[in-house]
Point group: C2
Chain length 191, copies 2
DNA sequence: TTTTAGATAGACTGACCTGTATAGTTTCTA
DNA sequence: TAGAAACTATACAGGTCAGTCTATCTAAAA
């Protein structure tokens, strides 16, 4: 395996488990079994490694979502596939200590003006856009005039609130509950 | 003002704005205009200062809530007072950079087994207990057999999801929207 | 076979980290 | 007014931080 990938793997695990600021360069390269210069040949600084980490987490989630989306047959199932992907994410990290959404956690430990917060914001906006798209389809399919914006906002609160509380409790239960609530919310929107 | 209070003020601001791990002892004592020994005479370690910070944030919120609760006349208004307190919190920090819930942020930057995470969990449970109490009253008052647990869970997702996204966007808008959604949710629960 | 790119180990810098030790000063209070 | 308690400034220890430098090695490409 290339040094860059080893680094991303090690950093991915450590950043997620210990937090970014609390994780030092030396810990990362030791876990990756890589020389320090290999880090600085692939990334110009720790910040750049952090940026790569954030991007990777997001792509990882998008892949989980794509998998779930393929299996979704109804338009409601497509909306709920977003919740499924959150659940998959939660459960994939359960054994080594689930700690919530890596992106929200990263943003939470950065100062207000940190560039990392901006990219997390963009990623969450992308999730919101996905929600909007599939909710739109769902509503038009059922000829509902339910307010799209408030539905999307509502679902995004269920999503992020549940993953946050799930992380705090180190369990995916809350995400499962959020999915159920989202389900009945969607049902209510076409009645 | 006593050194202990000066320290709690300075640490409170710095921890909230910059994150806990990223804030050093020296930065805190400089901002507090206090000698280093004053810190270690009042707190045995940085961790103890962090614990005090977390406790203080929680008490601060409880006070905001008490104020709102007093003004609430209906049982629905009492439930919504919890959302109002979140909004007050968001807006009180707006000028110097709102960054979400200090407790959730603190938990987010700590390793899975950190004691800080446990106390944050306890505080969030207290909020949930308040939600439960006032929802209970609301439902019985209106002779509703709406499921209490799912209502409370739902509201807690709206609460924590909105404060998290609000922090990411440095605006209290999301919390206001969450309150509106909570309002109609409560209305729906007694129909 | 020679060149080149990627990797290695490890020493090093200078700044910053938490926490301690010492000694002098202010402030409250009995 | 005398003593105790709280506070100050400063220096220091021992560690860790991000990042640089050098020198060596290996493997694939030219």
């Amino acid at each position: 395996m290339k040094a860059r990938d080893k680094l991303l793997n090690a950093a991915g695990q450590l950043f997620y488990e210990q937090g970014i600021t609390a994780t030092g360069i030396d810990t990362i390269i030791t876990k990756a079994s890589v020389a320090k210069m290999s880090l600085y040949n692939n990334f110009s600084s720790k910040s750049e490694l952090v940026a790569a980490y954030i991007e990777e987490r997001h792509q990882e989630w998008l892949q989980l979502f794509e998998l779930r989306l393929k299996k979704a047959e109804s338009s409601k199932a497509k909306v709920l596939a977003i919740f499924d992907a959150y659940q998959d994410h939660a459960e994939s990290h359960y054994e080594r200590g689930f700690r919530g959404c890596g992106l929200l956690n990263a943003a939470a430990e950065m100062p207000v003006d940190a560039p990392e917060r901006k990219s997390v914001r963009l990623h969450k906006q992308e999730v919101q856009t996905l929600l909007e798209k599939h909710c739109q389809e769902y509503l038009t399919e059922h000829n509902s005039n339910f307010d799209l914006n408030s539905l999307v906002t509502h679902l995004s609160f269920l999503l992020e609130g549940s993953i946050m509380l799930a992380g705090l409790e180190a369990s995916s239960d809350k995400v499962v509950q959020a999915r159920q609530l989202a389900d009945s919310l969607l049902e209510g929107a076409i009645k």
